[in-house]
């Protein structure tokens, strides 16, 4: 069984986790719709080191893992609060007109 080091719970079987996709930078609130579509739906699918959201199901805990997609090696995991320290408030696109 592959082991994932969870920042909250320690090393656990990978079967306790789900991958939530790539971590990408939030576009500015007033960006065009194509940029939003790219942010929400499209992934870069890099062969190499990626930052990904991972979810520990028993604790409903989201965190970030750095993983090499070529070797499936998990290089580093850390709480999402290390990457996202501030709250972002904005109106949803289309509500400002």
């Amino acid at each position: 069984m592959k082991i994932m080091p969870c920042p909250l719970n320690g090393p656990r079987n990978i079967s306790e986790f789900s991958c939530g996709g790539e971590v990408s930078e939030l576009p500015p609130p007033d960006c065009d719709r194509e940029t939003w579509v790219d942010y929400v739906y499209l992934e870069d699918n890099i062969a190499g080191v990626v930052r990904e959201w991972w979810y520990h199901t028993p604790t409903a805990y989201w965190f970030i893992a750095e993983r090499d997609t070529r070797t499936d090696e998990i290089l580093k995991t850390y709480p999402a609060s290390e990457a996202f320290g501030e709250r972002v408030d904005f109106a949803a696109p289309g509500t400002k007109e």
């Binding site: 909250l8 306790e16 028993p58 604790t59």
Partner: protein, 241 residues
């Protein structure tokens, strides 16, 4: 033996009540919640539980709070909080299990004393809330897995090493048990190794079956609340019957 108030007479009962009734449980009342006090002789059950036993503790009071400043609020209410995945006993016997930076689970002791739980429930208000109550009482079932063979029994169902030298008293493992999400808290009764296992109440009959099957080869048996209270150092004041 005086007649026991059965689960059919109660508004609240564990989803395991049919299992306990089939084992001829003698019931006790925990805040209007029917709880198996014993199935036979309580002293025999306590002796058995030093080796290996399971108990349906779902009737015991519990509560939870979750939110970004749970710790600030709970500490202001006088709660003694540990680090995430650490449990701490409060003065009244309630165990405060910190599940995450922003989440705590409160478990009453085997005497069903719920002073801390009641106090926090009375203190919490919507206005200005930085955390919110989690429906632990209804959403979770609570099974005690007790005795020196408990780690071997759990090893069949769970990948975490729960042996006493690796999993200290008052540690918490939130993990997969028999392929179900579960919270496992080591909470020794007196000098006897014990785990409190909390799972989705809707699937507790499955979990009970898995534990029953796993403990069979070690001679485990089903015991009531009184046996655990005896191990913890005193019989319950509620007589059971």
């Amino acid at each position: 033996m005086p007649e026991s108030p059965g689960p059919a007479d109660r508004v609240r009962r564990s989803n395991l009540y049919r299992v306990s009734a089939a084992l001829d449980a003698v019931w006790t009342d925990v805040n209007g919640f029917a709880c198996p006090a014993r199935y036979g002789d309580a002293a025999d059950e306590a002796d058995a539980a030093r080796g290996l036993a399971i108990a349906d503790l779902t009737a015991l009071p519990r509560a939870g709070y979750k939110g970004w400043d749970m710790a600030g609020w709970a500490t202001a209410q006088g709660l003694d909080l540990g680090e995430p995945n650490e449990a701490r006993a409060q003065a009244d016997g309630v165990l405060a299990c910190r599940l995450a930076a922003g989440e705590v689970l409160l478990l009453a002791g085997d005497d069903a004393g719920s002073g801390t739980i009641d106090r926090l429930a009375a203190a919490w208000t919507v206005d200005g809330a930085t955390c919110y109550p989690a429906p632990r009482s209804d959403a979770n079932a609570h099974i005690g897995v007790v005795g020196e063979r408990a780690p071997e029994t759990m090893a069949k169902l769970c990948a975490i090493d729960l042996r006493p030298h690796r999993f200290a008293n008052r540690r918490i493992a939130q993990t997969s048990v028999a392929r179900m999400n579960a919270i496992v808290v080591r909470n020794d009764r007196g000098r006897t190794y014990a785990l409190d296992v909390l799972v989705d109440s809707a699937a507790v009959v499955y979990m009970w079956e898995c534990l029953t099957d796993a403990m069979a080869e070690y001679g485990g048996r089903v015991v009531g609340l009184e046996a655990l209270a005896t191990l913890a150092g005193g019989a319950t004041e509620r007589g059971g019957a």
